[in-house]
């Protein structure tokens, strides 16, 4: 997030949610948005193919067709430019590339976009005006925006909108990705990415590499590594021979599970470190028992970039070991000795190599934690990014054309399957399905289907139906609802035994981010 969570409750005058079912996936942020709307009268725009809870409170609800995000953004920007609602001063002083963007956007009139997105042109105008005319407008998104073959374009369009209206660098505004996992921000910050070291220092940058080589006393590779999705494909092709998986479950979380299983089966060696014998761990040659958050000290970095302490509450379970100790042990046995006395000592090393964490110490993180960047020990942290200038200096507009999703419905697979999460489960269910209450409350997967589609197919609520895509079929209980587009069906991916990712597409990834198109698969639903 460019801004911080509590601004969404206190400072935002308008909130635009696109591709985030906030009350289910980031419930506490959802509460805050709701309170801002109910108590302070903040305006709310919701764009989602499903009529999510917050849509009920929305001033404008846009049930747009999955994968048409760029068109929707361009349409809103078209209105903003044509109605003179753009922030000319901000564009003048803080951005570049406006002309090229405006030229593309000019084609996307609300009428054109209405046709593409399947929403009312007047609603696009209303949304554009609400967003542009508000003193501070925040846009929040999650995987609904990013898990597309055009995910990167979608995010850039979102940034265009914020730049166009000067909604960056001030309280209550911003471009705010709501990140799905407790420490996904931290994993990225720490360089658990194939192209960067910590704090996004490129592995291809000689200077950065030299710094890490010096610190680590070893020569480092200067070529970009493989993303997770590509690594699976390479394993399938036989080029990746061995894999180390720490606390991940690609056998449930990755697209086209049949393909993932084949890939893992072809490995010479699979090492899995986890707290449960996950579907992936079952495939492993060696499984090492790590510990849960309750058993460890360290830090997590949340979606607003706030680094917060994790504190050990109980001892390791059984013979399980601290994950950091396991990594050190393995590294040492690989001939690269690692030795630390505590997570704090590791953190001390991190901050010497990570400019945005340089000013943080465990002592300073006690209490409220610190949002990065925090370059020095007297720096208070940065709740709002891009206040004076952007990282690159001027904010860059991108001229982006709408591209259709990779797999569109056709005669054989006439509807769109979208996937996501429920309030009651988390990711691959490794933890939540073993939590007694959550499991009891939501023991099995469902497929959400619109009443009209159900009627046309003769499907009744609670009936087990077959959902198929070009990858395969699964049988799911139908949940017949009104709050979804008629041409879209939706299911959860938490359930290994009815795994949504048996249906999703691994062939098409976003060309930049390598993200799979989970939100759009052509599908068919039928009675059994």
């Amino acid at each position: 997030m460019t801004n911080s969570i509590n601004e969404l409750e206190n400072d935002s005058k308008c909130i635009f949610l696109i591709g985030t079912n906030t009350t289910e996936n980031h419930p506490v942020i959802g509460y805050k948005i709701r309170q801002n709307v109910l108590k302070n009268g903040a305006k709310l725009i919701v764009a989602d193919p499903r009529r999510i809870e917050l849509a009920e409170l929305a001033d404008v609800y846009l049930p747009f067709q999955p994968g048409t995000d760029v068109a929707l953004f361009n349409g809103m920007m078209n209105v903003i430019i044509n109605e003179g609602l753009a922030d000319r001063e901000f564009i003048e002083n803080r951005t570049e590339g406006y002309e090229a963007m405006a030229e593309v956007v000019a084609k996307y009139t609300p009428e054109v976009v209405a046709e593409i997105c399947g929403v009312d042109a007047e609603d696009i105008r209303k949304a554009a005006r609400l967003y542009a005319e508000s003193e501070a407008a925040a846009v929040c998104y999650a995987m609904g925006l990013t898990q597309h073959s055009t995910g990167t374009d979608n995010v850039k369009s979102c940034c265009n909108l914020a730049l166009l209206t000067g909604n960056l660098g001030k309280p209550g505004a911003g471009v705010n990705p709501l990140r799905g996992q407790n420490n996904v921000q931290g994993a990225c910050d720490m360089g658990a990415l194939p192209v960067v070291f910590t704090a996004y220092q490129a592995v291809t940058n000689d200077e950065a590499r030299a710094k890490f080589e010096k610190a680590w006393g070893v020569e480092l590779s200067g070529s970009n590594g493989l993303t997770l999705t590509k690594a699976i494909n390479k394993a399938h092709e036989g080029e990746i021979k061995g894999m180390i998986v720490i606390g991940e479950n690609p056998m449930v979380s990755d697209p086209d599970l049949h393909h993932v299983e084949e890939a893992l089966d072809r490995l010479d060696f699979l090492l899995v470190q986890d707290i449960f014998l996950t579907e992936t761990a079952k495939k492993a040659d060696i499984v090492l028992p790590g510990v849960s958050f309750a058993e460890k000290d360290g830090t997590f970095t949340n979606t607003e970039r706030r680094v917060q302490r994790v504190r050990k509450a109980i001892s390791n379970i059984g013979d399980a070991r601290q994950d950091w100790e396991i990594i050190c042990d393995l590294s040492t046995r690989l001939g690269y000795p690692m030795s630390y006395n505590s997570p704090e000592e590791i953190f001390e090393e991190i901050r010497t190599l990570t400019p945005s964490y340089a000013g943080m110490t465990y002592a300073r993180l006690e209490g409220k934690g610190l949002p990065w960047p925090c370059p020095t020990e007297d720096h208070p942290g940065t709740p709002i990014l891009h206040k004076e200038k952007f990282n690159r200096g001027l904010g860059l507009f991108h001229a982006i054309e709408y591209i259709e999703p990779a797999e569109l419905p056709d005669d054989e697979y006439p509807i769109i399957l979208s996937t996501g999460r429920s309030l009651y489960h988390y990711h691959t269910g490794t933890m939540t399905r073993k939590a007694t209450g959550l499991h009891e409350f939501m023991p099995e997967n469902v497929i959400q289907i619109h009443t009209a589609l159900a009627q046309a197919k003769g499907i009744v609520d609670g009936e087990v139906v077959r959902v198929s895509t070009r990858r395969g079929s699964i049988d799911l209980k139908a949940e017949v609802i009104d709050g979804i587009r008629e041409d879209v069906i939706f299911t959860y991916f938490h359930f290994a035994e009815a795994a949504a990712n048996q249906l999703t597409n691994s062939d098409v990834l976003d060309p930049v981010a390598g993200i799979p198109e989970y939100k759009v698969s052509a599908a068919r639903i039928e009675k059994i």
């Binding site: 509590n6 420490n183 194939p194």
Partner: protein, 354 residues
């Protein structure tokens, strides 16, 4: 403009608009409350916080009465003590007195105030109407035979979570907390965040997941960051005998900056996977398609040997690592360091995209 008033013989100065309760506390008076909650709208209804302004006919609820210039307040006058005792006795007259098995034992306002005012039993015991709600949900116990009708749960549900699942139903002595049409929570807009449990001053609302495992008042509480979504809520793991037995939350923004005590169903009730018998407790090595238990030395040596073999045979880029969005920063740092420095490849990623 500042306001000067006298409380229990002490002169205090407070800003205009200050409620008497804050002025009294500033003067060092210990004002008992049930319905008052600094994070919620005022109710002024439990009447436990009454104080005596000199020259006024009635007692006033200090939580909803603004301090006025020149007021002379007594916080423990005989009338005040009499009123508080009677309020306690009225509550006690219908309270299911099962303190010994109550989750709230030891941090219950009713218990504490009865102790303070020496109220051992009620003179007003009569008919008892059971209001216990047998609600089949797996998260929240609703034992309204312990309810004091402070309505903090109703306000928290509205003002923190915004679910508006519960409200007061019926009137007078028969008033109770209910969902629409007095149904079960699962059939209401309830999202099982448990904010109602967090604000309940007595044992009427409690966690079914934590029930019987340890009274929160006696548990050690370890402040940490939730392991679920990226919001980064602060929560307190309740520990007893080296075991996690529950989750509570801290509402102080200095310690819970993001969520100020608010949690969701996963954070508050989804913790018992920690104690799952399915947790991995020892290294496993697969032989002939079956796992067998192994020592750490054996497992780590074998792993190192396999990895070295692949690296030597096919080069470092024939190996890949999936690190985790679940583990800590420190562990992620070491994981990528292992991949880059020990193995020599940049093939490290995690599930940020999934």
């Amino acid at each position: 403009m500042d306001i000067k008033l006298t409380i229990d013989g002490k002169e205090v100065v407070v800003p205009q608009g200050t409620m008497l309760i804050d002025a009294c506390r500033q003067a060092g008076a210990d004002i008992p409350t049930f319905c008052f909650d600094p994070d919620l709208k005022l109710a002024g209804s439990c009447r436990m916080c009454v104080v005596q302004p000199k020259g006024w006919r009635n007692l006033v609820a200090s939580c909803v009465t603004p301090a006025q210039n020149g007021m002379v307040i007594e916080t423990e006058s005989p009338d005040v003590i009499e009123a508080r005792k009677v309020v306690l006795e009225l509550m006690l007259a219908r309270h299911k007195l099962t303190c010994h098995t109550c989750e709230k034992d030891g941090e219950c306002n009713l218990q504490d105030y009865c102790y303070r005012y020496g109220v051992t039993e009620s003179r007003f015991v009569g008919k008892v109407h059971s209001l216990f709600k047998d609600d089949s949900n797996p998260f929240i116990e609703r034992d309204y035979d312990k309810c004091v009708m402070c309505t903090r749960c109703v306000r928290a549900c509205d003002e923190i979570t915004g679910a508006r699942a519960i409200n007061v139903m019926d009137r007078g002595h028969h008033a109770k907390i209910a969902t629409s049409f007095d149904g079960e929570l699962a059939d209401s807009p309830c999202v099982f965040c448990g904010q109602c449990i967090m604000v309940c001053p007595v044992g009427a609302l409690s966690s079914k997941i934590a029930a019987g495992k340890g009274k929160p008042a006696q548990n050690e509480k370890v402040l940490t960051t939730c392991t679920y979504c990226g919001t980064g809520c602060t929560l307190e793991l309740n520990v007893k005998n080296d075991k996690v037995v529950g989750v509570t939350s801290n509402r102080d923004p200095e310690w819970s900056p993001v969520n100020r005590g608010a949690l969701c169903v996963k954070g508050r009730f989804g913790w018992d996977f920690i104690n799952s018998p399915e947790r991995l407790t020892t290294p496993l090595i697969k032989e002939n398609g079956e796992f067998r238990e192994a020592s750490w030395d054996e497992a780590l040596n074998l792993a190192a040997q396999k990895i070295k073999g692949i690296k030597e045979g096919y080069g470092p880029d024939s190996l890949a690592m999936f690190s985790s969005a679940r583990i800590t920063n420190e562990e992620n740092y070491l994981a990528q360091k292992l991949m880059r420095a020990a193995i020599g490849s940049n093939n490290v990623d995690h599930c940020a995209r999934l």
